[in-house]
């Protein structure tokens, strides 16, 4: 993480240094829309030097998967609850994602580039919610925690259980791309990014509200915590495998319009 920031800083400084040699710094500005694995977004781009272009933007993932699901039965407060037709929803990049990227071009005219930078936001690239408000007694919302393998989980004050795939709130990005966001002789430019967010791993976490502050305390899920009575991991170890995977792929198509 630290190293990546050093690289970003070095690239940025390199851009500023080259300002003395070239007066192209921030002499153009382009606005663009983006479509990719981080959703749809807006980006602003400006040249830093003939070799470096900077991009900053924000994206949201507007689609939410919704489905009523049958989750079988669960012991809640000593009673077996049938969790049928539970409203379930899942969305990505909850709260949106900001980004600051630097495209580094090997040549003054080449469209191919390396990209370094960072994504920042709530750090929840996947949020799933199960609405148990109809299955539970309202008096148990956020006040009753059930235990499973020493993992204690509760609903929030509205009777909803959330699971987040959590990464850092600031995550370095490295990648390659094709196309310049800004080219002085073109009004519209198309560019393409392929890269990875260096997450260092993912925490799959749910929450326990049964504490004196009544605040959501994260409870990290592991394959061990999802073992059944015989010790067999019900997820076949996938939670641990996904949690340990250190990168998230990123694919993005950008269309920029040069304003000046």
């Amino acid at each position: 993480m630290k190293k990546t920031f050093t690289i970003v800083l070095t690239v940025a400084l390199a851009g500023f240094t080259s300002r003395a040699q070239d007066s192209q710094m921030a002499n153009h500005l382009a606005l663009g829309i983006t479509l990719g694995l981080d959703g749809i977004g807006l980006e602003a781009a400006l040249p830093v030097s003939p070799y470096v272009q900077a991009r900053a933007g924000y994206s949201i993932f507007p689609y939410t998967y919704k489905q009523d699901v049958n989750l079988g039965s669960v012991e809640v407060g000593g009673q077996t609850k049938q969790l049928d037709k539970v409203p379930f929803s899942a969305t990505m990049w909850k709260g949106g994602t900001g980004k600051l990227l630097f495209d580094v071009f090997p040549g003054k005219k080449t469209p191919f580039h390396f990209t370094v930078g960072a994504y920042f936001g709530a750090g929840k690239y996947l949020n799933a919610q199960a609405d148990l408000s109809k299955q539970l007694d309202p008096a148990d919302y956020a006040t009753l925690a059930i235990s499973y393998n020493n993992t204690k989980v509760s609903t929030d004050p509205n009777g909803i259980v959330s699971i987040d795939a959590k990464i850092g709130s600031v995550v370095p990005y490295v990648g390659i791309g094709f196309g310049r966001a800004i080219k002085p002789d073109s009004r519209v430019r198309v560019s393409f990014d392929l890269g990875a967010l260096i997450t260092g791993g993912t925490k799959l976490q749910t929450y326990n509200y049964v504490n004196l502050e009544g605040k959501a305390q994260p409870v990290v899920l592991t394959s061990q915590s999802l073992s059944d009575k015989d010790g067999k991991q019900v997820d076949n170890g996938w939670v641990d495998k996904i949690s340990a995977f250190p990168v998230l792929p990123m694919l993005k198509l950008n269309v920029f319009v040069r304003l000046f």
Binding site: G77, G78, A142, L212
Partner: protein, 285 residues
């Protein structure tokens, strides 16, 4: 420039040190009658109506604890618990009367109609907390939130496990919760415990713990305070559905709030189970 840099770095270092030393815990103000706290043990029982009093403890926080037996029964000792005020050398004990203490001489004017002044010799021991934790603890508290965790394995192999948060400690609610998660509590016992709704908890440096309930006599236990740690025991007579046990834990203070972390091993119908308590206590005058 170099000097400015050194000053800035020095200031940053000082700020860092002051931040590191920041302590979030604060001590509450001294309770109202801290200086008056004392244990008065009568050399012979003081008879007042049907009551035969052995001792009266004046707590640090305007409460009295009077230990008595009922004269014509073989029942064990119980307590009267109430508020007291102090004015011009006289203690006024709500519901009991007024009392003056002069060295080892104690004179009591009972509030019951027709009661005459009783003079008695007593051993009077001033109460004093041995450390700041005890000073903080020895006052009156109400429960503003409590989280009760229960876990255990029953004889039939089933497990009981779960945490529940309540805004007060009503033993009926606790028993209902315990029953919901698998403890086989009879309706008769649920009825017995339905009056045990905790109103106030009082701790004293003389080693008393009183739990006042809404509709039944208060519970009394010997309290052992050691730094921020405490223990006390209780028997089945104290709380009907519990066969007795020992509760131990720690107390942490912030202003007029105390966070109690405690654990106990309990038995119901020969089924052992353990209970954890996280309690937010608020001081009451």
């Amino acid at each position: 420039m170099k000097k400015v840099f050194v000053y800035v770095m020095g200031l940053a270092a000082l700020l860092a040190i002051s931040c590191n030393n920041k302590d979030n815990s604060t001590n509450p103000e001294a309770p109202a009658t801290q200086e008056l706290a004392q244990l008065i043990q009568f050399s012979s029982p003081v008879e007042m109506g049907a009551y035969s009093f052995q001792s009266i403890e004046l707590t640090e926080a305007s409460r009295y604890i009077a230990e008595y037996t009922l004269s014509k029964t073989s029942a064990g000792a119980s307590i009267l618990y109430g508020k007291y005020t102090y004015s011009n050398g006289t203690f006024n004990l709500d519901g009991l009367g007024s009392m003056k203490v002069d060295g080892n001489k104690v004179s009591i004017n009972p509030s019951v109609a027709g009661g005459s002044t009783i003079e008695v010799q007593a051993t009077v021991t001033r109460s004093s907390a041995k450390d700041q934790s005890a000073v903080n603890a020895c006052r009156n508290w109400t429960i503003s939130k409590i989280i009760i965790g229960i876990s255990g394995k029953m004889k039939d192999g089933s497990t009981v496990e779960g945490d529940k948060m309540f805004n007060k400690l009503d033993f009926k609610e606790f028993a209902d919760f315990a029953k919901r998660i698998g403890l086989e509590i009879s309706d008769e016992d649920l009825e017995k415990i339905s009056y045990y709704d905790v109103q106030e908890i009082c701790m004293t440096s003389a080693g008393s713990l009183v739990v006042e309930f809404a509709d039944v006599d208060p519970f009394y236990a010997d309290l052992n305070l050691n730094g921020s740690n405490f223990t006390f025991s209780f028997s089945q007579e104290d709380i009907p559905i519990l066969s007795g046990g020992k509760i131990s834990g720690s107390l942490n203070f912030s202003g007029s709030t105390c966070i109690m972390d405690a654990a106990a091993s309990l038995v119901y119908n020969e089924e052992p189970y353990s209970v954890t308590l996280v309690v937010s206590l608020t001081e009451v005058q």
